[in-house]
Symmetry: C2
Subunit: 212 residues, 2 copies
Amino acid sequence: MPRAVIGRLSLYLRELEAFERRGETTVSSSLLGSALGINDAQVRKDLACFGQFGRPGIGYRIAELIRALRQILGIDRDWPTAIIGVGNLGRALLRYRGFRNRGFHIVALFDNDPKKIGQTVGGLVVQPLERLGEVAEELGLRLAILTVPGEAAGRVAELAAGCGIRGLLNFAPVTLTVPEPLSVISVDLSIQLENLAYRVLHEPNGGEAITD
Amino acid sequence: MPRAVIGRLSLYLRELEAFERRGETTVSSSLLGSALGINDAQVRKDLACFGQFGRPGIGYRIAELIRALRQILGIDRDWPTAIIGVGNLGRALLRYRGFRNRGFHIVALFDNDPKKIGQTVGGLVVQPLERLGEVAEELGLRLAILTVPGEAAGRVAELAAGCGIRGLLNFAPVTLTVPEPLSVISVDLSIQLENLAYRVLHEPNGGEAITD
């Protein structure tokens, strides 16, 4: 399944939840797409990849589609998640409310700086990286957020893979080559700013683009 | 130009800079792509969109291609940039070294919280949002990083557009509908984690994906 489709599923889910909060029970593909700037044919095509959700003359039943999308995306469960690298960005992400709302609970912090190990940050004690395997097993960790410097990221990703971590959200500005079966999504914030600068220079009409 | 191509230009640039640091002067399309998991035909096709850079039997001249890509991406200049919303994420991004390296200098901070206004954070005084227009003109601000809560993001984006801001990197987890000619790139961190959870559940072999 193309990553862009999966990214759009998350957006559809957010829109559907907004419709539900407003008391709606059904929604058409064109209404669902319009707030996101996605046309109705694309909405129908994306959703048809995962099942037969729409009904002619009715549209999508919101509660049913929310349930299905949460299951497809895997956020119908809790994901205990670690943050590796307790610097400024790691601390900010620990306090980011958007994660918990989607089932991602930060339950462990790791660093290799002796000055940070043992500190309590946001109610969690920073643990040494050597304990990652033990803690991962104890807490059932499968996801980790990597906020270490670029030069350390490769080594820590290898370590995480060996400790049973299956997915890494990497903020270090490097391309990681990681062993299977680890999945990595890299968010390079300076690349986002570069893309934005390009658009300001070359796309005078502006508009919205969603990172997917 | 598709956004994915622009995202890959940033990645090519990073690889080229790494080659240059290692003392190389030319590089083939296959070598350039290999560290990024992109095949040589794709590399040639992407770069051919912007000019005739490669030379048969030689490959790409690294210094020349770096200069061209920096110009295309608009990072051959300085971009004074504001952070709007001085919470945890805003403060972390203020200290993020990756921005300054690419010419993005955080030169102003804005918030609407009276307790924050007037505070000095990272050497900058937090200013009230009402001063955005004045400061934007004074400092030549065209880019801003938006780290305000979701419910405030739409209003602040409107305000920024009216103050001459041309590009917004939006971290609020909402889809913004913004007036031309404002360009917005939204980085929704919980969507990235959702995509990662999907891949852990459905793509057992893992692998790397670069947000583009």
